[in-house]
């Protein structure tokens, strides 16, 4: 009974925290486009917060630069359970164009934190990001919430 109630509430209210780990900012702009009235993220019950302590979903963009290697793990540790990570764009997946020989990016992100959903594209369309959050978000959070940690 209580679990069912929690599930419903968790599904209908997802807080999203955007972490940009050093990329070209194209994906961040696509996320901002998602917030705009045209795509209107909040109609799905998704809210963007700047505080990782309040977040359910961490959106990671960027190719993980030297400065971000330890900080990414620290931010992930601050997110309360249940939490899921969505990697947005090609940078957190493969390093993309920054992953050249002799470059100092440390992609993929999955080396540092567990990634639940991936959106490839450079940058992905806002609708692709939305679809990834919605497909991974509510059910995964509900499922993870029931797990005894």
């Amino acid at each position: 009974m209580l679990d069912g109630l929690k599930d419903i509430i968790r599904k209908s209210s997802i807080h999203v925290c955007l972490v940009s780990t050093g990329g070209c900012n194209g994906c961040d702009i696509e996320v901002v486009a998602l917030l705009s009235p045209r795509y209107d993220l909040e109609q799905y019950g998704i809210y963007v917060t700047n505080n990782p302590r309040e977040a359910d979903v961490v959106l990671v963009t960027g190719a993980v630069t030297e400065q971000w290697r330890d900080k990414l793990e620290r931010i992930f540790a601050k997110v309360p359970d249940p939490k899921i990570v969505v990697a947005i764009g090609n940078c957190p997946l493969s390093g993309d164009v920054f992953n050249q020989e002799g470059g100092s990016v440390y992609a993929p992100v999955s080396d540092y934190i567990p990634v639940d959903a991936e959106v490839s594209g450079c940058p992905p369309r806002p609708t692709e990001i939305l679809a990834a959050i919605l497909s991974a978000g509510p059910d995964a959070i509900a499922a993870k919430g029931r797990q005894k940690v």
Partner: protein, 344 residues
């Protein structure tokens, strides 16, 4: 008051309540538009394994060429594999793919094919728009070859893919140099000939320095230079008489040479020029005085403009080939004192 009533009326309507409860983004916005350039689509069967896509790809891990293993009956096929986690959807791979139909499809891209003529011609004809007077005589002369010369944007243009290299246009052109016949092959040899001719002509003029120094400001100095020995040397480089004649004619038409003379007797060792010289060709030595090294000289004319005593003399040489036959052709050299003002 009336606006409040209007709002109450508006909110009371059923359609408003329906819209309010089912507020969603238009499905049209959520759909991917047809113009969107998605990840490339690979059609394995057309691939010729040229590797152009991998060379054009800006992302390090987006495209890989793979080859399936050979079976007893057939050789394995090679085809590109797109890694969606690296691909940035730029479409360069589809643009450079040379197969027809294309192996890679990505948005609306078009292959730009370089124009070339399949005929074995050694000369390429080009119209110099700067000299062209648009008399269209070449167009009339070229009437047998459809579309080889055409007027584009009020400019006469030769279509290299249709030109058969007959040279009728150059014969009918009334302006010398408006239509240019360029030899496509033997570029290195042509360079060698040009250097050789220019060096010889310069040496010939330098030999007459003493006479040139005495020229009055408005006087013109003339030298006739027979081209036999130039032709003899050029034939050693490449034994193609037509090319040699063409090159020498083009050189004499276009060459304008600066000649710098140096009169040591006038020099007072004031050393104004030594600091001005950009290449360090002019040096000062306590015993020898101011010295000029002709090999380092760029003929930039700065020393000529600086020197208050007229030590440096600047002359401009022009050339004309009087007879185009290789046997008794003579290059007429005309030397004039430069009109450049001397700084004061």
């Amino acid at each position: 008051m009336s606006s409040v009533i209007w709002y109450l009326y508006e909110f009371a309507r059923k359609s408003w309540a329906e819209k309010f409860t089912a507020a969603k983004t238009d499905s049209e916005i959520m759909e991917v538009p047809s113009r969107f350039r998605d990840f490339p689509e690979v059609r394995k069967e057309y691939c010729i394994a040229c590797g152009a896509c991998t060379a054009a790809c800006p992302a390090p891990m987006a495209i890989k060429l793979v080859r399936t293993s050979d079976s007893a009956h057939e050789d394995g096929i090679t085809y590109p594999v797109i890694n969606n986690r690296g691909c940035i959807r730029c479409g360069f791979c589809a643009e450079v793919c040379p197969t027809d139909p294309k192996t890679l499809l990505c948005g609306e891209n078009h292959l730009i094919r370089e124009e070339f003529t399949i005929l074995p011609v050694d000369k390429m004809f080009v119209i110099d728009d700067y000299l062209c007077i648009r008399c269209k005589k070449c167009l009339k002369a070229c009437s047998e070859v459809a579309g080889a010369i055409s007027e584009v944007d009020k400019k006469m243009v030769i279509d290299q893919s249709k030109c058969i290299g007959c040279g009728e246009c150059i014969k009918n052109c009334p302006v010398k140099g408006a239509v240019k016949g360029i030899y496509i092959n033997n570029v290195e040899e042509q360079k060698e000939i040009i250097n050789m001719v220019v060096d010889t002509l310069e040496a010939r003029i330098e030999a007459d320095q003493d006479k040139i120094k005495k020229l009055a400001p408005e006087e013109v100095y003339k030298i006739d230079y027979p081209i036999d020995d130039l032709v003899k040397k050029a034939r050693e480089i490449i034994p193609n008489d037509e090319l040699i004649r063409d090159s020498i004619e083009k050189i004499t038409d276009r060459l304008k040479m600066r000649i710098l003379t140096w009169d040591d007797e006038k020099c007072t060792n004031c050393r104004l020029c030594t600091s001005e010289c950009p290449s360090g060709a002019i040096t000062y030595d306590k015993e020898k005085g101011v010295q000029r090294n002709p090999d380092k000289c760029l003929k930039c004319s700065i020393c000529y403009q600086t020197c208050p005593f007229g030590v440096a003399g600047l002359y401009v040489a022009r050339f004309l080939l009087s007879d185009t036959s290789l046997k008794d052709g003579v290059i007429q050299i005309t030397l004039k004192p430069s009109q450049l003002p001397i700084r004061s």
